[in-house]
Amino acid sequence: MDNLLHVGKNIPRTAETDKVTGRAVYMDEYKRPGMLHGKILYSRYAHARIKSINTEKAKNLPGVRAVITGYDIPDVRVGFLGDQTVLKRDLVRQFRDEVAAVAAITPEIAEEALKLIEVEYEPLPAIFDPLEAMKPDAPLVHETDARGRPLRSNILPLPWKFNAGDVEKARQESAYTATDSVNTPWINQCCMGTSGCVAEFDSNNNLMFCSQTNVIFGAKQRIQTYLLNIGLKGKKIRVINPTVGGSFGTKLDTDIYEFICIQLALKTRKPVRIRFTREEEFMALPPRQTARFTIEQGCDKNGLLTFRKVEAILDNGAYTSWGATTPSVMMLPISSMYRVPNVSFQATCVYTNNIYSQAMRGYGNPQAAFAVETSMDHLAETAGIDAAEFRMINRNHPGDVTPMGLKITTCPLEQCITAVKEKIKWDEKRGKRNGRGVGMASLIHVAGGARVYLSDGTGIRIKVNESGEVDVLSGSTDQGQGSPTVIAQIVAEATGFKPEDVNIVFGDTALGLWDAGTHASRHTFVAGNAAVRAGEKVKQQILELAVQYIPKMVKRSLKQQKKKNPDFVEPELDYTLIDSPEKLDLRNRMIFPKAAPDHPHFKTEVGKILTSGLHVGTGESKAVVAEVFWDPPTEMLNAEMKGNYSCTYAFGAAGVEVEVDRQTGEVKILKLVSAHDVGRAINPSLVKGQIYGAAYIGVGYGLTERVQLVDGKVVNPNFRDYKILTANDAIPVEAVIIEDPDPAGPYGAKGIGEPGLVPTAPAIANAVYDAIGVRIKDLPITPEKVLAALKAKEG
């Protein structure tokens, strides 16, 4: 492994030079001839009956090419539970409900046309608090389910219930227990490139769909189903990605605007683009939902955890997307963070008339980790044990099988905690209560795929062209994390070429092999594994060609030399050095005998072999191409929510030092250390980029970010009122990479896309407690909450 030429190096992102010169084509720059611009009219109420819609004036506006409402398109249901339609006909259940859409020759005209659409509503009683919505007499957000069967409650029929061991018994036997209630807020993913797509049908009604999705085959499948349901059978769909301006969970599901765009394209017979304004991005894009947790944990007199009991209530909003499935990942920290034998967990997702929710980086983990890790701090204090020590004695170990059935392979959690303790000067700074404090939290996350669909696989095809460029075709995507660079390094290593030879083609269903999606921190691990395997096949093919052609080439060259110079003495060559592929190697484009790497006659530049292989002229030419579809040996969660759903798990810890101003309530972060188990860093600079970026979002989660909903309406839909951190916040963050190569990872690598976000907010909350002795259990930790808590404490 130490012989690696490209893996482990800070290879620069040269393939992305277009991003620094302004040439990269994002959705905004993806243009088609005759393209129209689509705009959407949203509801003016959180819950209302639509009495009438009049589109006449809008249709007559010059430049408008189509105006559609729910009455102009088939009444087909979409979404995870099929609980909504594309354009709403009778009822609106949230402010972002799509009521009509316009296609026009410019976005400005489309916008103008929206104002001319007259909609008459009859407002209905709405419900915004999930606790209220759970009550038996609460007004129903949905009267029926997708199949028209009557619903009696706002509680979603999702079985998020987990039990392991005997929690009741363990509670009675515990020496110490702690109970907490914590809340996490609505969060907007805030991709800098807003949502958008371009839909275009050809003359045969086949669809070209340019989408920012990070699950291109999933999107294709959903669109295919939709087209089928609206009566377009047997149509071919090609989904392609432009350069994507961030994803963070927003591109996992197919959004309603995408179906609307398709309908407008169908209606106008023209390519149509929809592109969200920033305000729309805040008001009409599903955010991470708010969650309320009740958590109780216990330990014995030695501090060993005995049980953990968690109940969560999630505000689903008015419809169902992936937000409702986040409990499957909340399970990770709840069941498996630290050794805890008895666990129970129940999550209830509730319909309300709030904006519907979806995924965000970390899925359910940051929410649940906030509950688990702040409660760990509380329990440690109750038991009189140092909070770092408490984590250390309960830490996970390699070889553990957790109550959820997760099989822990490598687990350097101990090193992560130790690194954090040292760098944050834990022993010196903890427990002073002088307005400064340190806090810590740990994490576990999937890092070796995540079997959330039937397949957790990725296909990679590698073809080597005659001159030696290596084309890698895959159904993966890049939303900015740098996966093309990482895969290029892996392919270069496995094939024997150089990273700069590798040309990555992602994000096209027509070219790439099937991929479960670039999500769940799975890409480097799963696509990387496929790439190693395909790369090795390619190398084998080349070495086979080499066995065939190097002797011929050498003999030919010797003969020529002899011809030119009759005095030339032909050397005695030992051709057994190269008579089988096993005796050869290929590295950095050079083929050589393993037994004599610098052999003056046999060492051959790979390009010569490739050309020879193609230009035999005997009808037996050979092109070098290989493909591998790799589906990791992971399990789907069973009915009890158990199963080893990833091949390996990433651990980590964050430590934070804060200073809290008792006068203003302001929390200042003096230092943030984020230590992560990455298996092996394929590209340390890129790994750090993931850790820094995620940690920063974690700080926002902890201190500043919150989508404010007032009676279902987003009232802070801009960067002035929705506070994300800027460079001025200058938080000194240190990323620590812990390498403990995982046997199943490509060159030992684990996934690192999401982990950095997970432990940050609880570490901040724990540090705030250490500084001033109050626990803020409601994110974000704003100055107002700090002041209120201080006031309450001082009575």
Binding site: N10, P12, R13, T14, E16, T17, K19, V20, T21, G22, R23, A24, Y26, D28, E29, Q189, C190, C191, M192, G193, T194, T243, V244, G245, G246, F248, T277, R278, Q479, G480, Q481, G482, S685, L686, K688, G689, Y692, G693, A694, A695, Y696, I697, N718, F719, R720, I724, T726, A727, N728, A730, I731, V733
Partner: protein, 157 residues
Amino acid sequence: MKKEITFTLNNEKVVVEVDPGWTLLYLLREVFELTGTKEGCGVGECGACTVIVDGDAVSSCLYPVLEAEGKNVITIEGVAASDGTLHPLQQAFIDNNGVQCGYCTSGMIMSAKALLEKKAVPTEEDIRTSIAGNICRCTGYVQIVESVQQAAERMKK
């Protein structure tokens, strides 16, 4: 009522008819097709649309197009040398992972360039202040600051 304006765009004199209601961003993107300048919010809160006007970094989404009359405007497309050689800032962003999704990158580079033209040896605080109006969701700014620092170093030599 259209009006004609004359200004210097990426070192070239241009004469163009504009609608007085346009922003400079609109003119750059829609008329000149200089689409490296991004719109992240359209209301002056994100910095994705930053360009340099007479040496100062400005949000082109707020900049009234008529005010460009007689000015010297540089966009991301005018940063590299005419033979395509990258500016040290561009190279440093590539080398130091200062770019992830890249949506904020044009604006970041323009803000940093305006800074380095005024102050060749900036402190970390100078750098952070210069890009404080440029929001980045991907990087946590760490490697962006490092990129600017390295570019400044390289430009000194």
